[in-house]
Amino acid sequence: MWQFRIISWLILDLLALLIQTALLPQIFPVGYVPDLILPLTVIIALYETPRRGLLAGLVGGLMQDVWAGRLWGLNAVTYALLGYAVAHLESKIVRDNVFVPGLVAGLAQLLVTPFQWVILRIFGFPFSWSSFVAPLPVWLLFSMLVTPAIGGLLRFKPRHEVENPYGRTRMTTWR
């Protein structure tokens, strides 16, 4: 299934970055443009193992870092950790297609922003905390709405459903 292939992630990340750099700045003011790699990492990681979730985040984050051309590693580390954490969390919770992706993306956004603020401060970009979190409500709402939408649009499914589509039916019959 295409959703589990790295090349698919690369194409999705490329599309997300194109929209993020060319389309979203026309809707959101400077500094408030939301991140599309975050919802994408969350939705991919929700259907993956922690190790592959980490890989998905690393791929998306690294692409964003190279595209931005400033601090290589900032997004790669952030999203790799996020991918790992989301995939790890996924094995412990009941997953649905709307509320869980939305809530997990919101939580992820709440954690990613201070994490990046700390990294930026360490590497010589001392932004003030108050102005740094000003766009957070916009990003929070955006990621909470967009993540389930991306999941629905791409029709992501759990691996066991893809690999054994009749598994549940057979089980019911057997019972």
Partner: protein, 289 residues
């Protein structure tokens, strides 16, 4: 030995990853030019797609805006009238400033200012994917004569400077970026300093003044100074909105509102060359020198 490595493989991998990431972050934090160059190659490859998306976005945005305007036309009309009054008063103030300036500098200097500048118009096709850094990509590059270090302007004032180029595109660092430092001066008091971006989301600039008692006041116009490395002197940067004392009252910092609306940046002009020692024509916010 092999058993030790296998047993401790996970902590070793984690330590190695942390080391590589720290090295990458610290190297790219220092060597910015090379990272930007690679980023620029990437943006060049995708620039046709960026241009198309940007064009589509503009068209869709314009359509949606037209429908939206029907509902808020009356309110907008009221606001526009108020803005018109404000702009008229600002225009009067600016006319007075220009007249005062021209009296001080002389008609001859103004004639010098009006000499033709070599400019290239370019469209903004994409922005930086990171909200923390303020750079844009334009659809003209080295094949149009654009080189790193060239100033980028719009009729309202300074936009930024070119930091990397490819044959068909160039990356421009906006003056809002925290790494951009522009040599500037207050037109009224002639106090010099450096203007830089304040915060990633703020459209305000910080004017760090060199002098202990610079005599800068709210409302003063700030322009690029002749000490600026990249920018021609006399380009309008913005207007002082607040003056604060920092560092135990030893230094003064002014907050400057840029004259350029960076949210509506579509077409910009790159200054390819300008007659040395002269300012830009007044229509581009110049005329201070």
């Amino acid at each position: 030995m092999g058993g030790f490595l296998y047993r401790w493989r996970r902590p070793i991998i984690v330590v190695l990853v942390v080391m590589v990431v720290s090295l990458s972050l610290s190297v790219t934090a220092r060597v910015r030019g090379k990272a930007v160059a690679l980023s620029n190659v990437l943006t060049t490859v995708v620039s046709p797609a960026s241009s198309t998306l940007q064009y589509l976005g503009q068209k869709v945005g314009a359509g949606v805006a037209t429908v939206g305007q029907l509902f808020s036309l009356e309110q907008q009309n009221r606001e526009l009238k108020q803005q018109l009054l404000l702009y008229n008063s600002m225009k009067l103030e600016l006319t007075e400033l220009i007249q005062e300036n021209s009296q001080l500098r002389g008609l001859l200097a103004l004639k010098e200012d009006a000499k033709p500048w070599k400019l290239v118009a370019a469209s903004v096709i994409s922005r930086n994917p990171d909200s923390w850094f303020q750079t844009v990509v334009i659809n003209r590059g080295s094949s149009s004569g654009i080189k790193p270090g060239m100033a980028v302007i719009v009729p309202q004032g300074v936009v930024g400077r070119v930091i990397a180029t490819t044959p068909i595109s160039a990356t421009v660092m906006l003056i809002l970026d925290p790494s951009s430092g522009v040599g500037a001066e207050d037109v009224r008091s002639q106090s010099a300093g450096i203007v830089m971006g304040t915060n990633p989301i703020s459209d305000q600039l910080t004017f760090q003044l060199f002098s202990h008692h610079p005599n800068v006041l709210p409302g003063d116009a700030v322009v690029t100074s002749s000490y600026s490395e990249y920018y021609p002197a006399g380009l309008l940067i913005g207007q002082v909105t607040r003056v604060t004392r920092t560092g135990y009252g030893l230094t003064e910092t002014a907050t400057v509102t840029p004259s350029v609306n960076f949210n509506q940046l579509e077409t910009v002009m790159v200054v390819l060359s300008h007659p040395s020692g002269t300012s830009i024509p007044p229509i581009y916010g110049g005329g201070a020198h």
